[in-house]
Amino acid sequence: MKLYKKEGNVLQILSFPNETVEKGDYLLVEDAEARRGLVAQVIDVQFASVPGVLEELLRSLPDGGEVIQGEDFDPLDIASHITYIQDASLVICKIRATVENESLSPSSSWLPSRSQSTIKKLTIPTLLKLAKVDGKLPIVLGGTKDSSFLTIDASHLDGRLNIITGKKETGKSHLSKLLMANLVGYKATVVVFDLNGEYSGLGMTSDGKRSAHYDKVHVLTPSQNFKVALKQLNLHVLLGILIHALHLPGTSAREFRRIWQSLKERDKLTLHELGEVIPVWQCNQHVRDALFSRYHSLINSGFFTDNAAEAMLLEDCLFKAKEQGGAVVINLRNTSTIDRQIVVEYVLGRLVEMLTSWKLKATFLFAEEAHLYLRETYWDDIVTRMRHFGIFTTFITNQPDTIRENIYRQADNIFLFNFTNEHDLDVVSRAARVDAETVRSIARDLPPHHCLALGKVVQDFPMVVKVKALDIKTMGETRLFFNGTN
């Protein structure tokens, strides 16, 4: 390989057919004289602009588009040299760092010698060592192209905002399960908004047996094993549900507050009593109607109960998880949109409550397709306020444009799977932790189950990894019409 050009932080390197370089690979351009080197990542491989190639190609197809038949008597075997030159490639690289005395700095302001520099591949383990991507809480994400493992540190997910995105069936959920399982293994508390019931098998192995995490996975299905009694609720949590999930107007909310206080004073905080009080409550008829319709929504959700034995305490699960680590999977499958929002409002409200009162230290929240249940104002809340409370969110989506631009800008880690759609790539490329060209070029060519890890977890050295297989029972599979029929 030969250094050809440097423009800004882009290097162009000439590579010959016997030197296999692919997108995502790291190269070290070493200038022995200057005693330093550039660490550059391949973001594109193009044909070198060799003069005369067009003529060469045209010559091979002169007979009405068909290849002209003939024999070549080439005793000096020049053809092999022609092929060698013709197949030369131009490797486009982004400079990621300068290495000097075995330490990295983000500078790319110097120019290595074009004639004297040597260029070699930088293996992932060497780069990880240079970048000091290690730690006490390793999570093996999977294998890299050079048959080494990419290991990140769980502490780089701690206190961070993460995004896992990619088109359908590329392995997003698989990676999130891997991260969850490892976090649980490190005794972290994980809460999952499971839209498709995919995570309920987290405690089972692929052959249906109990895994090591079996006792740490708590699957809560609203209106089945996950119900709450009004008594367990704080007023502001319920008001949050009424206002944000059920769109109760402010005036009606004030009246509801009064009803709540009245019932609480009489120790009659039950659904039944609430249903009795609202119709006879002295207030404007419209307000009464509004309150009563919301009351029915609460009843119809099946999420609320007066039966104390039925009421499942979210706190109990979270406390269990706090001790030994665990995942609380909120199974939102088969839950209507309104009910989903009610449940999410409740869970987030309770989490904030518990974190504020230091009943919980911190929680890793995994939110799949969050736009389907997260209200508008929560987005900013999650990246700013809730993070300070200790909710560290990982968004998982196959529609990157459903996540706001400011979320991408503030994301600390992005795990990017394949995207081919330009619009999707445009959205993701707004992430602050990486340049747009890298995202566009590498993400487009990622095979299934391969992800481009960006951000803190890889010390801002984007790395492609094949996510390792997990021995977890697959759940939430798409129901197929033709499955099992011939």
């Binding site: 060799v50 003069p51 007979d63 002209i68 003939g70 008597f73 020049i78």
Partner: protein
């Protein structure tokens, strides 16, 4: 080193093959390797320059057209159409000489499909010391004995690429004339002989061999110096519906130059392109016309130029990519070292320097 290359047969054609003298390609390889053998670490200055064939032959210009153009009609008789062309290029300069490459191609059309046989590239390191040896060895190997040009002054080193390419071209022409029967053999250039690379005896032998097998040789010149009243003969196109020929008469040459063909201006298509066409003088008039008419039926003649000949030219021409590849070969396999000698014109005159190629 030389023994590593075992050349047993020449490339196969799809027509009957008599005993073919395979000496030339073998000698080409031997001499090519020999010339490259003693150049370890010689610096080469890369310098691409194509050698254009020019025909600065002195022909006494008493040209005039015969009054009537010869109207042509495509003759429905399947015939093989075969063509030859060669190419040479300088791929660099060394301190003692030049590094050149030559390549030749035979293309033939039969049953509506084209086939080709391409020889080379052969790379030679030509120096003042070895130029005579290289050339005469090739001549001997090819044509049994050196021809009359041996008595002339030996070509300048700069002319050597064309001379060696011409040798290869004559050999390819010989091959075609001895292998094809009842076909049309197309040459690139004229049938003028007696100059350095077109020995009279050799050209006569080629034409004779072709005639014996009932072939007709048609030589197309892309460029000509022949003029009529100061205008090039190919520019003077009287009103007549193509395809047609005009015979040029009154051409006289100074010895030792000899015209082995009768000269015509050929226009085969409506486009305003015409070419000088030389047809073997020993072929009967009727057979000549018949041959051109067979060409009209058997060949695609876009812009009045035969496709077979065009393909032969395309296949042997060196592309820039190939030049780089040959330079790569010279460096990797023969131990040349590439140096970047500054262009003195550019160096001295900056943007006003036009480069060495114009000097």
């Amino acid at each position: 080193m030389i023994e590593q290359y075992t050349i047993t047969t020449t490339p196969k054609y799809n027509f009957p093959q008599p005993a073919i003298d395979t000496t030339l390609p073998k000698r080409f390889i031997e001499l090519s390797l020999h010339s490259l053998k003693h150049v370890q670490s010689q610096p080469i200055q890369l310098n691409q320059q194509n050698f254009q064939q020019t025909n600065n032959i002195e022909i006494l210009n008493t040209v005039h057209f015969k009054p009537q153009p010869i109207a042509l009609r495509p003759r429905h008789m399947p015939s093989i159409v075969a063509a030859v062309d060669t190419s040479s290029i300088k791929i660099g300069e060394t301190s003692t000489g030049i590094l050149i490459a030559v390549r030749g191609a035979n293309v033939w059309k039969e049953n509506r499909s084209y086939r080709y046989s391409r020889l080379g590239p052969f790379i030679f390191h030509i120096t003042e010391e070895n130029k005579r040896e290289v050339y005469t060895t090739l001549q001997r190997a090819y044509f049994s004995m050196p021809h009359e040009n041996n008595h002339q002054s030996f070509p300048n080193i700069i002319q050597m690429p064309m001379r060696i390419a011409s040798l290869l071209e004559r050999w390819l022409q010989t091959m075609l004339s001895r292998t094809i029967s009842k076909g049309l053999i197309l040459f690139d250039g004229s049938l003028t002989s007696g100059i350095g690379d077109t020995p009279i005896q050799l050209m006569k032998e080629i034409l004779s061999a072709a005639r014996k097998r009932e072939n007709t040789v048609l030589a197309f010149s892309k460029m000509t110096n022949l003029r009529l009243n100061g205008r090039l003969i190919t520019d003077v196109l009287p009103e007549h519906r193509p395809p047609y020929l005009y015979e040029i008469s009154g051409l006289r040459t100074k010895p030792p130059i000899l015209l082995l063909g009768d000269v015509y201006v050929a226009r085969f298509s409506k486009e305003k392109y015409a070419f000088r066409l030389d047809i073997d003088r020993e072929v009967a008039y009727q057979q000549r016309i018949e041959a051109v008419e067979k060409l009209l039926w058997n060949e695609s003649l876009s812009q009045s130029y035969p496709e077979t000949l065009r393909l032969a030219h395309i296949l042997c021409t060196f592309t820039a990519n190939e030049v780089i590849a040959m330079q790569h070969f010279a460096v990797r396999k023969c131990g040349f070292q590439i140096i970047d000698r500054p262009d003195m014109h550019k160096l001295l005159f900056g943007p006003f320097g036009r480069g060495e190629s114009y000097s």
